[in-house]
């Protein structure tokens, strides 16, 4: 498949080997389970009469992958995750984890653990007892429970949190405890249901990095649910974009971002510059912007649909636009309508040929454009992407 995935995998294999050599020393992690792959076949789910939560979903998640289910609320991503946990039964179809069909197996018999959006820490138990809950239910000995709690507390760096009552913890601390409580059971698959959505932006960014690091170190299969496309891109090996209970696209973050398969995915990944294609040839398209040249290699099967121009690919007032063959380079005339200063980069809302176009320019050594400035917009044919409707 794609490059980033394979790179990530070799990296985490190295990590797993490191942790294995550690474990022989500690003799503690010797029973670390192998991560499991997941296969979903023809999953259907309906709530009530009219609400279709999942519509014939087929999906394969590789072992040891950080896989994200991305979509707006009500797209079916949480339902899908709950089916992996066993908390929701499909109306039709099969769920296979690690090659075993678990469709009819109840949640307490699945080697799968979940980090819930609300954290769901038991209010009647201390942090330590919360962490040990899964082990206790599986009937592991007291000493084993204690050892594993200490181990996970060190791994997630919980420090003195372990001996505090649950109601004295902050949101971020609860989040870490919830994660530790799921990890301590060493599941084949870890499910995360928007675990960061209740946290403020700073903490969130920090935990995104940490979660990703933990996943790589353990080499565990993570299935992560979010509605935040930026979060999905930062953390995932692969992303599945869902809408209306249907998987719209599966791919690496760069595939999904740079080559969205349809207009929904493009819009959801944050693209604004989509223009309806009226007519097209081998290396050109007609849109509201006029005729634009594009790279014949970018051809897709669908001739009609939308043209995607990513704001960061635009060149504003550049002097030497593709000096080799300037006649192939698209040049448009526009006007700055609005400027959003972001610090590291600047966003402009332009009006080009009477339609709105967003452009981003990195804030290095360039004179900032002002509202009302006339601007020449250079669009490289290689950067134009056709998107199905």
């Amino acid at each position: 498949m794609s490059h980033p995935t394979t790179v990530a995998k070799t990296a985490d294999q190295g990590e797993t080997e490191k942790s294995r050599s550690n474990s022989t020393r500690q003799s503690s992690e010797r029973e670390r389970r192998e991560p499991s792959s997941i296969e979903l076949k023809g999953l259907h789910k309906r709530f009530g009469k009219d609400t279709v939560a999942l519509d014939d979903v087929d999906l394969t998640i590789e072992a040891g992958e950080f896989f994200t289910l991305l979509g707006p609320s009500g797209c079916g991503k949480t339902t899908l995750l709950r089916m992996l946990a066993g908390l929701e039964e499909p109306d039709a179809g099969h769920v296979c984890i690690g090659g075993q069909d678990v469709t009819d197996i109840p949640p307490h018999k699945r080697s799968v653990n979940t980090v819930f959006q609300s954290y769901a820490l038991f209010p009647h138990l201390s942090v330590r007892d919360n962490l040990a809950f899964g082990l206790r239910m599986r009937g592991e000995s007291k000493t084993e429970q204690r050892r594993k709690v200490d181990e996970v507390a060190e791994f997630i760096q919980l420090g003195s949190l372990v001996d505090r009552p649950v109601d004295q913890l902050s949101g971020g601390q609860r989040q870490r405890i919830a994660l530790a409580r799921a990890l301590i059971c060493e599941p084949n698959v870890l499910l995360l249901d928007e675990p960061l959505s209740a946290l403020d932006a700073g903490l969130r960014g920090q935990l995104q990095v940490e979660l990703q690091r933990i996943q790589k170190r353990l080499g565990m299969t993570f299935v992560f649910v979010t509605h935040d496309q930026a979060e999905a891109m930062v953390m995932s090996d692969r992303i599945a974009v869902l809408d209306g209970g249907i998987i719209q696209q599966v791919g690496s973050p760069s595939e999904v971002y740079e080559h969205p398969r349809n207009a929904f995915v493009a819009r959801f990944m944050g693209h604004d510059n989509l223009y309806a294609i009226h007519a097209s040839g081998d290396d050109w398209v007609d849109t509201e912007l006029g005729r634009l040249r594009l790279d014949p290699a970018e051809q897709r099967e669908e001739q009609d649909g939308w043209l995607l121009i990513r704001p960061e690919t635009l060149e504003l007032n550049a002097e030497n636009l593709n000096a080799e063959n300037p006649e192939n380079y698209n040049q448009l005339q526009g006007k700055v309508m609005e400027r959003l200063y972001r610090g590291s980069h600047v966003e402009y809302r332009l009006e080009v040929e009477g339609v709105t176009m967003m452009a981003t320019a990195s804030n290095v050594g360039q004179r900032l454009l002002n509202v009302g400035d006339k601007v020449t917009v250079g669009v490289c044919p290689d950067d134009l992407v056709r998107v199905a409707s």
């Binding site: 946990a85 949640p107 307490h108 979940t114 769901a120 038991f122 809950f133 899964g134 206790r136």
Partner: protein
């Protein structure tokens, strides 16, 4: 200035309410320590009426009847009410409005109606089968019946206040249905259960009307004994029983409130 007057008026009203609520109780407690034989004037402090209570076999037996009735009925009501409360919670998404009304009806039904129907019911069963002769057993059954809705309501409201994903977290963490009940559900609602027990206990001790209609000759409780005794006039002895009952019920009610609050924290 106007606002201040209004506030003063309201606070005066509040105090007046308290006086009407508690002054009669205070009078009863006060005269239970009266040395004289009459309720007309206070001649000096004495515990003789309390001593007389301990010597009165009828009162002792009524006391034990009250205790057995209250404890046994509360325990039974706790078990059944807890199951009903959990059932109502589990099926809260289904349209069970009419069922819930049925469960709550005994709360609003006048005691006298409830008592008479229970009595008629027990009497006819006794006539045809010879079972359920009026006595402690029939009283326990009728008390359990009116306590159940209260227990169910307390348990239900505690469960509704919980994060529903807690149940899923317990499932997810390998707890079998039995272990979920034992290690998660019961400890989580424990304060509500204790609170419900004390409330049931208080209701049972308090009850006169329903007990009166369902009791037998041997099963008089304290309220029934008092009812019989005051026909001969209010004696300081009655005041002493009343004072003790006020104390017991106040403690039980306080416990109920305390545990309920602890549960909601």
């Amino acid at each position: 200035m106007k606002k201040r007057t209004l506030q003063r008026g309201l606070s005066g009203f509040w105090w007046l309410t308290l006086v009407f609520l508690y002054l009669p109780l205070a009078v009863v407690v006060f005269f239970s320590f009266n040395a004289a034989n009459s309720a007309a004037r206070f001649t000096g402090f004495s515990l003789r009426w309390y001593e007389r209570l301990l010597g009165n076999e009828q009162i002792i037996s009524a006391f034990w009847n009250s205790m057995v009735l209250a404890i046994v009925s509360s325990v039974l009501a706790l078990v059944i009410g807890c199951l009903i409360g959990y059932g109502m919670y589990r099926h809260r998404h289904r349209k069970l409005g009419w069922l819930i009304v049925l469960i709550y009806l005994p709360i609003v039904l006048p005691d006298i109606v409830f008592g008479i129907s229970e009595m008629a019911f027990f009497v006819s069963i006794h006539r045809y089968t010879g079972l359920l002769q009026p006595g402690l057993l029939t009283m326990i059954i009728s008390h359990v019946t009116f306590q159940i809705p209260f227990v169910a309501l307390i348990v239900y409201s505690r469960l509704v206040g919980l994060d529903p994903t807690l149940f899923e977290a317990a499932k997810d963490l390998y707890a079998t249905p039995f272990k979920r009940a034992w290690h998660f559900l019961l400890p989580t609602i424990k304060p509500a259960l204790i609170s419900a027990f004390f409330l049931s206990f208080t209701l049972s001790i308090d009850d006169f009307v329903i007990s009166f209609f369902t009791s037998g000759p041997e099963s008089a409780t304290l309220p029934i004994y008092i009812w019989g005794a005051i026909k001969k006039g209010v004696t300081p002895e009655i005041n002493a029983i009343a004072a003790l009952m006020i104390g017991a019920v106040a403690i039980a009610a306080l416990m109920s409130l305390l545990f309920n609050r602890q549960g909601q924290r």
